[in-house]
Amino acid sequence: MSFEQFDLNALRLSQDYAELAGVRKLLTTVPVRKPGPQDFFRVHPDEAWRLQTAVIEVKEDREVYLVSPALREELIGEFVPVALYTAINRQKITFLWPVKLPGPDGRHNRWHQSAMEAAELAMTRWLRLQANMALGAYELFAAAGSLEDPQWPEVGFAELLRIAFRDRFIDSLEHPVVRRLRGEI
């Protein structure tokens, strides 16, 4: 019999389907929100993945709009200064978390202060954030297990911003959100 002569190595076909398929997951939606009360989350520790900027929250629509720097003088009192952190939860959903910065008086309320602390702590550990009305601040819960570090998306922060605010960027005083705030519509 000649069967032992079969060159099995030569017969072996690749099982590296990732290389063969060349398919990668596209990031098409980036929510702008705070972490859910049941989400353990991490915050990207790199400074290049956060931004201090201005947003307008339209509370009735639960939507956050990014304000162009050129319009800020015109819209003082309407926008809030925030730090936009890049965050990710255990379900691998990447989102931008706007944490309010101190007002012109430099004062932080306890909600914002505790959120800022949470963002700092979440750069190195998995945290859960829960509002405690009696305390008037967020309570933080750190994951007890030694969970692995998150896998951050391959796109850069600028691309995350573009995806998150592609339909919610105020770059003109004619923007419907601005006109609504002025009572024009």
Binding site: M1, F3, L11, Y17, L20, V23, R90, E148
Partner: protein, 574 residues
């Protein structure tokens, strides 16, 4: 065809007509063969065949035997004590590979293959009549002999037409590798599985009264049978009394499928004997079990029948069918022993090796991948042992198996007897821990959906039709490469002289005289390791051995209660 002709001097199309009573080796009636290269034709009746000590056609290195489901033709070689050919091209296997996963209007028999390519064929009625004439057994009149030879010749002509149609699609090196397995399959089908003949005769003799009494005995713990019939309403009452939450169909009725019983029996062991009883009642007809005069269970392995390329022997004819307790009939002959050698955590190892997930491979190497997974996921401390964290380990084991079977959270929750949210968390931990594996699994699915095919390392291919099942596609590499492992191990073991009684999913059952059993086990384990290294690019998988020496018998813990009950009843009846 050019690839074949450039490689071989002789392309020999072969078809035997034979009788094969239940459990017996095939007995050749006549043979027609044709060498496509020279045009020479051989037509031989059984007397002429038995007078030959070697095949009349070339069967050496420079020739390839071409047949449709070749283990039958090779079984005739073994029955005639002829040398087995060096190379096999099985057009059944290649047609299956060419169309695997597609809906075939006329099936995958020779007629179906011809119809698929729009080729002329002998009419079905004629084929059935000729089959019946062959199976009737001899003696055959001169007219009948002529008719059978003509029928045999028509099959060879059909083979020739089919070869011409399939040739442009053949990947010759892989096809010959698959043909190699058909030689092993023929040897295995020829060997068969030794059974305790007297015990089987007693079982068959008392089978009718046994069934009623076994129901009575087993049902005494459940109270769900009435007049020999399973009653769903009574079963619902039993479940309520036990506090077991049983899955239901959309209609609200209890889901009584065997798969559900199997899952629930794992979560609630109290269900196991009832499941075994129901499987026995619904699927076991002792008269169908194919046992030869020599007390051996022999049936077609149905090689390459499953989509994954696995064997798919008949549930009712094969001793390793669903009624597990019946495997207690397996017993080595006097002076001999049996060994059941299975790969340890085969599918987990395959997944680790093919996906190249380092954590998964480390878990496999640990020897206890389930506990390792729990440690890697941070669910137990690093010093945890199988004993100190038995229940957590069981849950992580269930999770690993759930991923392998493509099970959702609800099914896993049922299996581990926990709420669905807990099962979802376990599955999420698997995804988090074995990210490399999941990225690879996603890529398998992406590729299949994009390009319409996926394949094993040796080219067993699944073609994707409309409405594909994502879970089946993800699972295909593990199953199809598991089948490759098993086939190659069968080839290596049988070619090295081991008497393989049967392959069973991820195991080989072998036999040898007691004095030679250890050596046969070592040869088989070596073959299994080499097979895993060849399929998995150098990764060796471990195997485990269970030995049985005469007069002991093979046993499976899952069927022990049923086996004991049946024999208690026989003692009462005798």
């Amino acid at each position: 065809m050019k690839a074949l002709l450039s490689r071989f001097r002789h392309l020999v199309l072969v078809d035997f007509e034979f009788t094969a009573p239940d459990g017996e080796c095939p007995q050749p009636i006549c043979l027609v063969a044709k060498d496509l290269a020279s045009g020479q034709v051989w037509q031989l009746w059984q007397d002429d065949l038995q007078a030959l000590s070697t095949p009349p056609y070339p069967s050496g290195e420079d020739s390839v035997l071409i047949a449709y489901y070749a283990s039958a033709e090779l079984g005739c070689h073994l029955a005639l004590d002829w040398v087995l050919p060096s190379h096999i091209l099985d057009l059944y296997v290649e047609f299956r590979n060419h169309t695997n996963g597609l809906t075939l209007p006329c099936g995958s028999g020779l007629l179906g293959a011809l119809a698929y390519f729009g080729l002329d064929s002998i009419g079905t009625a004629d084929k059935d009549a000729m089959r019946a004439l062959a199976l009737r057994g001899g003696p055959w009149s001169a007219d009948e002999q002529a008719a059978l030879l003509a029928y045999c010749a028509s099959d060879v002509q059909a083979l020739e037409r089919l070869l011409a149609a399939l040739a442009p699609h053949l990947d010759v090196p892989h096809a010959l590798h698959r043909g190699r397995y058909m030689v092993a399959a023929a040897r295995i089908e020829h060997t068969g599985i030794p059974l305790d003949g007297p015990a089987l005769r007693r079982l068959r003799e008392y089978w009718e009264p046994i069934q009623a009494r076994v129901i009575e005995r087993i049902d005494s713990a459940y109270g769900v049978y009435d007049d020999g019939h399973f009653r769903a309403a009574r079963f619902a009452g039993f479940l309520a009394a036990q506090g077991i939450h049983w899955p239901r169909l959309p209609s609200g009725a209890l889901d009584l499928k065997d798969d559900t019983f199997r899952d629930m029996a794992r979560a609630y062991p109290v269900i196991a004997p009832l499941r075994e009883l129901r499987a026995t009642q619904s699927q076991l007809r002792l008269s169908d079990l194919a046992v030869g005069q020599d007390g051996r269970n022999r049936c077609l392995l149905s090689a390459f029948r499953a989509r994954t390329g696995r064997n798919q022997p008949s549930n009712s004819r094969f001793i390793f069918g669903p009624a597990v307790w019946l495997r207690g009939l397996i017993q080595p002959q006097p002076g001999w022993g049996l060994a059941y050698i299975d790969w340890s955590q085969q599918e987990f190892g395959i997944a680790a090796a093919l996906s190249k997930d380092p954590l998964m491979w480390a878990a496999y190497l640990s020897g206890d991948p389930y506990l390792s997974f729990a440690k890697q996921a941070g669910a137990v401390p690093a010093e945890a042992t199988k004993r100190s964290h038995a229940s957590v380990r069981e849950q992580f084991k269930a999770c690993v198996l759930a991923v392998q079977y493509g099970m959702g959270a609800e099914s896993l929750a049922r299996r581990i007897g926990q709420p669905a949210i807990y099962a979802r968390e376990l599955l999420a931990l698997h995804r988090h821990t074995y990210r490399v594996f999941w990225a690879w699994s996603d890529a398998v699915l992406d590729y299949a959906l994009l390009k319409g095919t996926v394949w094993s390392v040796f080219g067993w291919t699944l073609h994707i039709e409309a409405n594909p099942n994502a879970r089946s596609i993800r699972n295909f590499p593990m199953q199809a490469n598991g089948a490759e492992l098993l086939r190659l191990a069968c080839c290596l073991a049988t070619e090295r002289g081991v008497r393989v009684c049967t392959p069973v999913h991820d195991a080989l059952l072998i036999e040898a005289p007691l004095a030679d059993l250890e050596a046969a086990i070592a040869t088989t384990q070596q073959a299994m390791q080499e097979a895993s290294e060849a399929v998995l690019g150098g990764f060796p998988l471990r195997s485990e051995v269970t030995q049985v020496g005469y007069p002991d018998r093979y046993s499976d813990a899952r069927g022990q209660r049923m086996w004991d009950t049946v024999w208690d009843v026989i003692e009462e009846l005798a």
